[in-house]
């Protein structure tokens, strides 16, 4: 891991994010869309972690790896918690939609169009 430069993680995060974004905009199945959203969130998480690892902030002036501020890592935990909650609600919504419309095709959920 030491040999991989920061730019590699960032590039991977960007590619993952783009794949997720393209998937969100292109896919019609909400399950796949959720997966893509997860992909985007994880791309963000990866970026957080990469920055956290490469730009450590010392805690109260101590120069020790064990004593760094874990800001980036903490953000990832929060993101994962939010993502989990979001998936739970999202899947609930999808279930409700499926019960009323017998379909979960995202393009049929367009009754809010102008």
């Amino acid at each position: 891991m030491e040999g991989i430069p920061l730019m590699g993680f960032l590039a991977l995060g960007a590619v993952m994010f783009l794949i997720g974004a393209v998937g969100v905009t292109m896919k019609r199945n909400p399950i796949v869309i959720f997966m893509c959203i997860e992909l985007m969130l994880n791309a963000a998480n990866l970026t957080f972690l990469a920055f956290a690892r490469y730009h450590e902030t010392p805690l109260l002036g101590m120069i020790s790896r064990e004593n760094t501020v874990m800001n980036g890592q903490m953000a990832v935990v929060f993101v994962m918690a939010v993502a989990a909650a979001e998936v739970a609600i999202g899947l609930g919504i999808i279930m409700a939609i499926f019960r009323t419309k017998d379909s979960i095709d995202i393009d049929e959920m367009n009754i809010l169009r102008g």
């Binding site: 009754i111 809010l112 169009r113 102008g114």
Partner: protein, 733 residues
């Protein structure tokens, strides 16, 4: 009425307020109680009471007018002006307009004409209108008219004159459209009202201009702000207006003259007067011959100082008057309707009055107003009697030989006819000859002033007009009373045919029990026999009832000797070297004498020339009479209905042209502006355009609201990318 007393006036002169208030009281009485009395006493008795109550205020006002004349006449000639103020009407810092009346020879002359002839015509109307269903309404309007007319002539400031001016216009409108159920009458009333607006516009502007000019002058005595009062503006006019100089000098008189042209039916605004004949005949006699239409001459005479300062304005007045005189005379020659003949004759005679005023002979113009009031009221009332006797048929071609049936009317109208033709000793001669003489005599003066048209040309036109006047009046007179045959006997029997189109005024005569009796002079019991069928072979005309012929006789007497008495035989006596008092001129000296123009140099003519002029004007009258007597001796000639006569009768196409130019073109202009502004800008651009803009903008952006979550996501993405790029870009720079 103690509150009316003005301590500065001689006590007797405060009676002038009674002159104004009596007709007003009459109006209020008729308006408030007319219907009630008619219902309470029944039409027959109720109408007699109402008729009595309508005549009495006017007659009493006439008596008071006579009393005032005697008061004033005792004063020296230049002290015959008194002003009575009742209350402040408008009192601002910048202008003060009190409610004030002016008693002077000019206003009293008009008061005597208005109330004297007015009372006679009211009396006549009680007979003429006896069977009309709207009897109280008629006298309500008629009394109101007298009140406004008196306000016009008695008011001491232009604002009060303007109230009267508009008020008589209103009453004229109401009375022309008195039989409003016929749409033609309503249209005629509208025409009169609308055409008069043009004149009133000029009058109002002239008034404002006078106020502005005087308000900015330093010549007024300390604190005097009555910028419209005659006793302030007339003596100072020459000084104040002279200081301004420039366009104001001719603008003031010409604006006032526009008012006079409208009210006195001069070319180019005369067209309402012939149509005004749609009103009942007493109205035509009172308003459209004797009084209201002379208001313009009164205004010019009252404000003569303003006119005198501008030779251009005087010339305009004279030329317009002269042209109107001959123009209307030729039109009268082409009319078959007895009232229309008289209407155009009135326009023509009014032209004579303005011609006189235009050369500076204001007193002579007023004299013609007076004599014209005598004989034209007489002729109109006589025509009304004829119309009444002929079942409201007004076509000269259906008359003939009426002399046999209506002796009193015939004899009275004979006097009126001789008067208007200008035959010596009858009233019209003295005034018309005096006008023509004055026009001729003023030639040198106005020529030196640089008039484009010399007065001698105007005199020649006036002389031709005198011939034409005698000609068309003889035509009317002969076709009515002489010319052998009784032409109505040749008409188809009305029992089997439809009612002729022109018998329109007749509709008012059927619904109630007609009071065919005369009013308090009535002695003869008459059956309403001729009013209830149309003219036909079995028709027998009858002399009208006493309440109608009595005014005719009085006016006939005035038309016969009135002119001679008032003028004292001037100018004939001068030719013979006899000195008599020209009562009228002497009486009116203070108000109608030229005050700017040099009265000595103005009218210069030798006695021999004067004699020739007099002979010429007599010859003109005689020529007209002989010419048309020969022509109509045996009834309507075969070549009567020529193209030329029809063209003349249609006002030489003028009315039609004006209709095309203003009514039709105005309608088209309105339509175009309606299409452009109302339809185009307001409706299309604003009312429909704004919602359209909102809707189409919404439509454009609505496409983004597809309802597809992915496209929203895409938009968010693109937006986020755009913002991110921008941030990166600005950071990296």
């Amino acid at each position: 009425m103690p509150e009316l007393m003005d301590p500065s006036m001689p006590a007797g002169l405060n009676l002038v307020w009674m002159i104004l208030l009596l007709p007003l009281a009459g109006f209020l009485f008729q308006a408030a109680f007319g219907r009630i009395i008619e219902r309470a006493f029944g039409p027959a008795l109720g109408r007699r009471i109402l008729g009595f109550m309508a005549v009495i205020p006017i007659a009493v006002a006439f008596v008071i007018g006579c009393i005032l004349v005697t008061h004033i006449a005792n004063q020296p000639s230049d002290a015959r002006v008194a002003i009575s103020t009742w209350f402040d009407w408008i009192n601002l810092q910048s202008i003060h307009i009190p409610f004030e009346l002016r008693v002077d020879p000019l206003s009293l002359t008009m008061v005597l004409i208005i109330t004297g002839i007015g009372a006679l015509i009211h009396l006549y109307a009680t007979g003429y209108m006896a069977a009309d269903k709207d009897y109280p309404r008629f006298f309500t309007y008629l009394n109101l008219f007298i009140a406004f007319m008196l306000m016009l002539v008695l008011g001491n400031n232009l604002a009060l004159v303007f109230i009267g001016w508009e008020g008589v216009g209103l009453c004229s409108y109401l009375l022309i459209g008195f039989w409003y159920e016929d749409i033609e009458n309503a249209k005629a009333a509208n025409k009169a009202f609308i055409v008069n607006r043009i004149g009133d516009w000029g009058m109002a502007l002239g008034m404002f201009l006078i106020a502005v000019v005087f308000a900015s002058s330093q010549n007024l005595l300390g604190g005097e702000t009555r910028y419209l009062s005659f006793d302030v503006i007339l003596p100072l006019a020459q000084q104040v207006v002279g200081e301004w100089g420039g366009a104001v000098v001719w603008a003031i008189p010409l604006l006032l003259f526009i008012g006079a042209v409208g009210k006195s039916a001069q070319f180019p605004l005369y067209l309402w007067l012939p149509d005004a004949m749609a009103g009942p005949t007493p109205v035509s006699a009172l308003i459209h011959a004797a009084t209201m239409v002379t208001a313009g001459v009164y205004l010019v005479t009252r404000c003569h100082v303003f006119f005198e300062m501008s030779a251009f304005a005087m010339g305009t007045v004279a030329v317009i008057g002269c042209f109107t005189a001959i123009f209307a005379a030729t039109i009268a020659w082409g009319q078959y309707d007895i009232k229309k003949v008289l209407a155009y004759s009135t326009v023509s005679q009014l032209g004579f009055m303005f011609l006189a005023c235009g050369v500076g002979a204001f007193s002579t113009g007023m004299f013609h107003v007076t004599t014209h009031a005598f004989f034209k009221a007489l002729l109109f009332l006589g025509a009304g009697a004829v119309i009444y006797a002929m079942a409201h048929n007004q076509d000269l071609r259906n008359y003939g030989g009426l002399r046999k049936y209506m002796k009193i009317t015939y004899f009275s109208m004979l006097m009126g006819w001789l008067a208007i033709c200008g035959i010596p000793i009858w009233a019209g001669f003295w005034s018309k000859d005096d006008i023509l003489g004055k026009v001729f005599a003023s030639n040198d003066y106005w020529h030196a002033q640089g008039w484009a048209i010399n007065p001698v040309v105007l005199w020649a036109i006036g002389l031709v007009t005198a011939v034409l006047t005698a000609a068309y009046m003889t035509r009317m007179f002969w076709l009515t009373f002489f010319s052998g045959e009784e032409r109505w006997r040749n008409l188809p029997d009305p029992q089997h045919t439809h009612r002729p189109h022109h018998v329109h005024a007749h509709t008012a005569h059927h619904d109630e029990d007609p009071d065919e009796h005369g009013f308090f002079l009535e002695t003869v019991e008459e059956e309403g026999h001729h009013d209830h069928h149309d003219l036909g072979p079995t028709h027998e005309p009858r002399e009208v009832k006493p309440s109608m012929w009595f005014p005719l006789v009085v006016l006939a007497a005035l038309s016969t000797v009135g002119g001679l008495i008032l003028s004292g035989g001037y100018p004939v006596t001068e030719v013979f070297g006899v000195h008599t008092t020209n009562l009228f001129k002497e009486w009116n000296a203070v108000s109608a004498q030229p005050s700017v123009l040099p009265s000595k140099e103005l009218f210069q003519v030798s006695h021999s020339t004067e004699a020739v002029l007099i002979l010429l004007s007599i010859a003109a009258g005689l020529a007209g009479i002989l010419w048309n007597r020969a022509r109509y001796k045996k009834g309507v000639p075969k070549n009567e209905d020529t193209k030329l006569r029809r063209f003349a009768g249609s006002q030489w196409g003028y009315d039609n042209a004006m209709y095309q130019a203003f009514v039709n073109a105005g309608g088209k202009l309105s339509e175009a502006s309606y299409k452009l502004f109302d339809k185009g800008i307001i409706d299309t651009l604003l009312v429909n355009g704004v919602p359209w803009l909102v809707a189409s903008t919404g439509k454009l952006f609505r496409k983004t609201q597809s309802g597809y979550a992915r496209s929203y996501a895409m938009a968010i993405l693109i937006g986020a990318l755009a913002i991110a790029s921008y941030i990166f870009y600005s950071v990296s720079r």
